[in-house]
Amino acid sequence: MILAGPDALPEQIEVITKELGLDKPIISQYFIWISNILMGDFGKSIINGYPVFKLISLKFVATLELAISGLIISLLIAFPLGILSAIKRNGIIEKFTTIFTALGQAIPTFWLGILLVLVFSIKLRWLPPSGRIEFTENPELAFKLIILPAFTLGVYTASVLTRFLKTSVLEILTLDYVLTARAKGLSEWIVIIRHVIKNALIPFVTVLGLQFGAFLGGSVVTESIFDWPGLGRLMLQSIHTRDYPVLQGTILVVVFGFVIVNLIIDLLYSFLDPKIRY
């Protein structure tokens, strides 16, 4: 109906229905879709006839780029804050961390994004407000373009990760093997780096994996604010236009990405925790 338009003749609608296979039962439509996908055919957009797979792979690169940058930013924040605030308790760093984690989790992404654009693009004019270009085209501009969206995406995750890391470091510091390490006469930094951090990483990577998996799904809000051509916006557009093949394909890729990330995390465990061997 939507495709054919309001003035369509019944014959036209019939033709389109047949062409799209909508006359078949839902179940068989679903199996047709699945068997096509298994053969590598994601179908075509019903809006512009563009192959879904090609569309998604274009957008996926953008999303992956943003996800990795967001992850790097959150790790850059979470690692020092989480560890230092656990070691130097009741200091300035810990107070700052408490405020940061509370705000980071409480501030809505859209508000933070808009605020960042307002300050850094409009007032200070340091960074461009939106858009994306390939790194190969103009590395400097591409870098400037990604900073704000990556930061917007990373802040929430950074605060989650910081809290998590702080708690596990605090817990590990009370354990017997840390006392053993101190009793050996090792310096506090060696104790932290060799004995505490590796143990703290085991629960940490679990949360990290979940967060990164969520990033891969594309952040609808962040991508919309910064006009970032990623999966999140593709999903949003296809919902608006009722472009079901694109929507289904996107969701499939997002879910698949999530599963893959978690598989990688599980493999990482065996590297971090000697008790786990596959």
Binding site: D176, T180, A183, K184, L186, K198, I202, D273, P274
Partner: protein, 327 residues
């Protein structure tokens, strides 16, 4: 102290006071204790849970962590007060001069590091031995504490070892830099009896081999009887009695020690009589005592005991007690 003049003092604890400052109360864990450790001896410290024995020995290398704090006292080692050393100087003593073995071998080793790494890091830290020879020394140590196929064990992680083996590894870590003093904080409590006996034998052998002094903490008086040269009995963060081992078992002077010895089951005793118990509970460590902390539970108490806290006094050359009463 006048006795044992012929023996060299290696460590001297003077008026040690340790408190734990928790949110709404202060726990007086160790309340002014004095003792010496002589060269080549095994000094046993006994006491029930919460009597301050662990806190006492953790203080020796200043390993007390907040909220605990050493409020007062001196730990004299090598004519220096350990408590006044900078953290850098302190780290040169920890593990090298004075080594610790802790109670629970299950949790005292780092689960994610190889056994070899955990032993060798101490050697690399404290000695100038190069990496290759350090590995060799580590393998010797593993062998020396009675673990076969050292090479294989070097690359194992703690979870692949049994409790007894892990405690042997802890001992190997302790011995790695030829310490002068080994502090064993209930090293056999978490092990079953057969393994316990093996570990006790091992530490005794190694004491002679490495020429160390040992402070051995336990709540097992029977165990100490077989190994210690001298024994300190602690209660409520204080030393109640200090005597050489034969004297303490044959002629206990303090009511608390007497009661403790009476509550030890004797396997050769066939009579049906009930095991003796000490009435009452250990004291609340948040309170400050005017009198003797054992007052409430003591069978020999007199008026003075509740008014005046007894100092450690000498009863004979090898025997000190903190009690007003002569029994």
């Amino acid at each position: 102290m006048k006795r044992q003049i012929d023996k060299e003092i290696v460590l001297s604890v003077k008026n040690l006071i340790v408190k734990f400052f928790t949110k709404n109360k202060v726990v007086n864990a160790v309340n002014g204790i004095n003792y010496n450790l002589y060269k080549g001896e095994i000094l046993g410290i006994v006491g029930e849970s919460g009597s301050g024995k662990s806190v006492n020995v953790l203080s020796i290398t200043n390993l007390i962590r907040p909220p605990g704090k050493i409020v007062e006292g001196e730990i004299i080692y090598d004519s220096k007060n350990i408590l006044n050393l900078s953290s850098k100087e302190l780290r040169k003593i920890r593990g090298k001069e004075i080594a610790n073995i802790f109670q629970d071998p299950m949790s005292s080793l780092n689960p994610v590091l190889k056994i070899g790494t955990q032993i060798i890091e101490s050697i690399l830290k404290h000695t100038n031995i190069n990496k290759k020879n350090s590995i060799k020394r580590t393998l010797e140590l593993i062998n020396n504490v009675g673990i076969p196929s050292a090479k294989e064990r070097y690359f194992n992680h703690p979870h692949q070892l049994s409790g007894g083996m892990r405690q042997r590894i802890m001992i190997a870590i302790g011995l790695s830099c030829d310490p002068k003093i080994l502090i064993a904080d209930e090293p056999t409590t978490a092990l079953d009896v057969t393994i316990q006996a093996q570990i006790v034998d091992l530490i005794q052998d190694l004491k002679i081999q490495y020429n160390m002094s040992i402070i051995w903490i336990t709540h097992d008086l029977g165990l100490l009887a077989g190994i210690a040269d001298r024994i300190i009995v602690m209660y409520a963060g204080r030393i109640m009695e200090e005597a050489n081992v034969i004297e303490l078992y044959e002629n206990p002077k303090h009511p608390y020690t007497k009661a403790l010895l009476q509550s030890t089951p004797d396997l050769n005793d066939d009579s049906e009589k009930k095991l003796h118990t000490i009435e009452g509970y250990p004291p609340d460590m948040t309170q400050e005592f005017v009198g003797c902390p054992f007052f409430d539970r003591c069978l020999y108490k007199e008026n003075i005991c509740n008014q005046n806290n007894p100092d450690l006094r000498q009863v004979n050359t090898a025997h000190n007690i903190a009690c007003h009463i002569d029994i």
